[in-house]
Subunit: 269 residues, 2 copies
DNA sequence: GCATAATTCATACGTTCGTTTGAATAGTAG
DNA sequence: CTACTATTCAAACGAACGTATGAATTATGC
């Protein structure tokens, strides 16, 4: 399995430590498979995309995927790795630069969010980084229940999340840390979902959005338009007023709508 | 295909218009299949769940699904329909009650959000409405790229979205309508993602969240804890300061982090 | 140019998929 | 009981799945 890796190892041994030429890692076949896979996984999901779809559309032999990536799982991992390594190292670099310039002072919340989400959304403007295709794929895959996908993302994101969590703790000192973690959670969700773009809203109200915003923003990329809307929303949510904790007698506190239970059909015990 | 429906039609004709007895629609086999499917679709996704998983786990014959629901797609639709019809009619009823009580005055933003998201989250507290299992399934399926799923949700949600959109327009008059639609979009995402719960954050920082919040909230349901955190975040995002539109010369306005491009690896043209 | 490694190719393997079929059984109204 | 409908069941269908194999082809180092 994965003969390409075996060959690579052999080559490396012969090259005696010198870095492997990019040509090997960026062969036509490899990138064609990755490009097509990115698009197909985005359009049909991981399980909904077959190797035969990919190989026929990429005009390569059926066995090519297993040769170059070992397995379908290996292919998906590589599809993400080639984008995420850039993204997350860039995120760390941006944060490093900001903190260095701040000379120890806490960053502004907007700076932290801009560094984290702005860097991501820049991918959508740059086709060589994956463009909107990869952004949509990312948004949709973050909620995929498959185990190997979850663990892959967990390890791939661990360092970045940790760094930005700490930066947010310092940037928003008046919000409890646990609350910030929750809100980071929510912000990731708002972003993924907005990016995925498979939602109901676009079907129903999509016209309005593009109509109204289309006046002066015709030249702007989809990613930039999204970013200008998303960042204020995230900032507002991050700095929102704290939830007033109910008094310890937590019965009958419920604001959850139970107003019209009579109107709904009777509940069967 | 779908012999059960054929039988149903025949029965209805014999019953001459009288409502069909519930026993037919709620046979043991039917609900056992639906319950198991709900859980399996949640855990492994639609494509990742096979009919043999479902039927063996529900202890019914393999052909039972096709008999009762016609196809796998029909099964998924029914899994959602039996929960969403309650959810969305309840949402409409709650909104009706609120607007009636307000006597024509605009509702408060918190009321609208509470009606929309609170009603949803109440499902998580009530096992007979689907509980957290269904909430997670819903969150994960909302980003599923499959066409028949998207169109199903679009029609299923159309009326509710339209009503709540109008309510939000009136509740937040100082935010442009197009902006509100975007933010409704973002709020749906934050909620779905938070509900889906397969994210990176829970793996990395899950302990902290439950540690800190676990003092006095041990008795609260998972859905209620989520709701208390989510609603302030959504409110803050909904009412956030408007994005300052860049002047029409939209070049070089970019706040998108391009600070440390030198640090990242050189970009190949 | 020759030997060797790297890649491509056609083909096949063994599974598993969703669905169908026709007979067997359970349920029900007259 | 009888006639009929509704449901369950075991078995099989063809198709599509991910992967493996060994020969053929191309590229590479000396």
């Amino acid at each position: 399995m994965n003969y390409a890796l075996l060959c690579t190892v052999a080559t490396l041994r012969k090259l005696d430590g010198r870095p492997m030429p990019d040509a090997k890692l960026n062969s036509d076949t490899r990138v064609r498979i990755l490009d097509v896979s990115e698009r197909q996984f985005m359009a049909h999901g991981y399980e909904g995309t077959s190797m035969r779809m990919i190989t026929s559309m990429a005009k390569v032999n059926l066995a090519a995927v297993n040769y170059h990536f070992g397995s379908k799982e290996g292919l998906l991992r590589e599809v993400f790795r080639r984008r995420l390594t850039w993204l997350n190292s860039e995120r760390l670099a941006v944060l490093d630069a900001l903190e260095e310039r701040a000379k120890g002072a806490p960053l502004k919340p907007s700076q932290v969010l801009e560094a984290f989400f702005g860097t991501l959304l820049r991918i959508g403007e740059d086709e060589s980084l994956g463009g909107m295709t990869f952004l949509r794929l990312l948004g949709r895959t973050l909620t995929d229940p498959a185990e190997f996908i979850r663990t892959f993302f967990a390890t791939e994101y661990a360092e970045v999340i940790e760094r930005y969590k700490l930066a947010l703790f310092r940037a928003v000192p008046d919000v409890p840390k646990a609350e910030i973690v929750w809100r980071l959670h929510f912000m990731l969700g708002a972003m993924s979902y907005a990016i995925a773009g498979t939602d109901i809203l676009r079907v129903i109200t999509g016209h309005e959005m593009s109509d109204i915003s289309g006046k002066e923003e015709g030249t702007k990329s989809e990613a930039r338009r999204l970013s200008e809307r998303l960042m204020p929303f995230l900032l507002g949510g991050l700095r929102a007023a704290l939830p007033q904790f109910a008094d310890s007698s937590n019965r009958q506190q419920a604001p959850l709508a139970k107003t019209v239970r009579s109107k709904s059909q009777e509940k069967k015990k």
